[in-house]
């Protein structure tokens, strides 16, 4: 404290400014990198209020019953309206949301869903490989069967991918995911 007092007012100002910049920079970096984890997730409003909790949780429908492409292709895919109508032609056909889907299905009008999980363009991810290896969907997508409205529970930073690849002795060559 003695030293601090001994400084001139200008010096105090300079020191204060330096400290502020230092702290500010760290806050910036912290928010930049960890912001998504702290300030919630990307939770868009979907055109149809589909509940994963109801389907996957309560009714225990396997994920890949709807997301059929996950085990066959790189993309998990969103089920077609036809798939919805397979069941909902009979099950709860009068529910207003189902009626909405049914109407769109009749008109051959696709439902425009909002993407929740997204990877940057320079990343190539293959669902098939991971499903075939036996990973549960929840491992990356979080406890999706427990929520009504799905939000982004994972930001898919490179560290997440790399960590898991290391643990499982999967290739960590850059071109495994990037081209």
């Amino acid at each position: 404290m003695n030293f601090w007092n001994s400084l001139s007012s200008t010096a105090k100002m300079v020191a204060g400014a330096l400290a502020a910049i230092f702290v500010g920079l760290h806050i910036f970096l912290a928010i930049f990198y960890f912001g998504p984890f702290w300030f919630g997730t990307h939770t868009p409003t979907q055109p149809i209020a589909f509940s994963h909790k109801l389907h996957a949780g309560t009714n225990k429908i396997p994920c890949q019953y709807c997301h059929t492409l996950a085990r066959r292709t790189e993309a998990a895919g969103i089920p077609s309206a036809e798939k919805c109508m397979n069941c909902h032609g009979y099950v709860k056909a009068e529910s207003p949301l189902i009626v909405e889907i049914a109407k769109k299905f009749e008109n051959k009008e696709p439902i425009v869903w909002q993407k929740v999980f997204d990877l940057p363009d320079h990343v190539w991810f293959n669902h098939k490989r991971h499903i075939k290896k036996g990973f549960k969907c929840q491992r990356c997508h979080g406890p999706i069967e427990k929520v009504d409205v799905v939000g982004r529970s994972n930001d898919f930073k490179m560290g997440f991918c790399i960590g898991c690849h290391r643990d499982n002795e999967a290739p960590t060559d850059c071109w495994t995911c990037h081209t």
Partner: protein
């Protein structure tokens, strides 16, 4: 995130594949199909006349041509030139951010999203096979519809080069893995090899003694460019024909 191992690239598992390519100069007729095929496959942008004036035409694969002799004894030779995927690549050691390195399958990797554009690698490539994005890639209106979804579109300020159609290799390995077998010779073809009308380009696993590329590489005709530089390219050129014409 799990425990962090300091080891950067996990080379513990020795990979069986060692990709290589042979280009038969005796077959090449310089038609340029590979050049356009490569552009179509890899989202290589058309830079436009103005940039060409600056010497910035971007072709991962270009056909060099050399005129020798004077009329009437003129000989013109074609030399398809792309990234040679050197085993001891001069470009790799100079990149300060490790955006380019040798991958376990013998390919020279360029990671666009790691690259900061010091362009040192381009300076150190004796083959001049690396290209820099001086501007953001632009596509004429509507033409982005044709872009290949497997290949990222490069941003301005990064280096790029031939990847031996990594996306195709990846897909080929993926399909082989589904069937629980190693990749067969001929499963994977880069765009240039697939399109080459004279079959001058052969791609394959040189570690596989039964592969075509292995045969050609050991046919006695194979040479490497700038052998004296000791870069050990994975691209082998097969020398031209005999002198007896008639």
């Amino acid at each position: 995130m799990g425990k962090i191992k300091v080891k950067l690239f996990n080379y513990k598992k020795q990979n069986d594949y060692k990709w290589a390519m042979t280009i038969d100069l005796d077959r090449c007729n310089g038609c340029g199909a590979c050049v356009v095929g490569c552009q179509a496959e890899n989202n290589v942008a058309v830079v436009g006349e103005e940039q060409v004036e600056h010497g910035r035409n971007m072709q991962w694969l270009r056909i060099e041509r050399y005129v020798e002799g004077t009329y009437p004894d003129v000989k013109v030779r074609f030399l398809p030139m792309m990234c040679q995927h050197c085993d001891i690549a001069p470009c790799e050691s100079v990149c300060p951010v490790w955006a380019t390195y040798q991958n376990p399958e013998g390919l020279n990797v360029q990671v666009y999203n790691r690259c900061i554009g010091t362009r040192f690698c381009g300076n150190n490539c004796p083959y001049s096979a690396r290209f820099f994005n001086w501007y953001d890639s632009k596509w004429e209106k509507n033409q982005e519809n044709q872009l290949n979804p497997d290949v990222s579109v490069r941003e301005k300020g990064v280096m790029e080069k031939c990847t031996m159609c990594m996306q195709r290799i990846r897909r080929g390995k993926d399909l082989a893995k589904d069937e629980g077998r190693p990749v067969k010779d001929g499963d994977i073809q880069p765009a240039c090899a697939q399109t080459c009308p004279t079959n001058a380009i052969t791609f394959g696993d040189i570690n596989d003694p039964h592969s075509k590329v292995h045969d050609l590489a050991h046919s006695g005709r194979a040479i490497r460019l700038f052998e004296e530089k000791g870069t050990h390219p994975a691209v082998l050129y097969l020398k031209g024909g005999s002198g007896n014409v008639y």
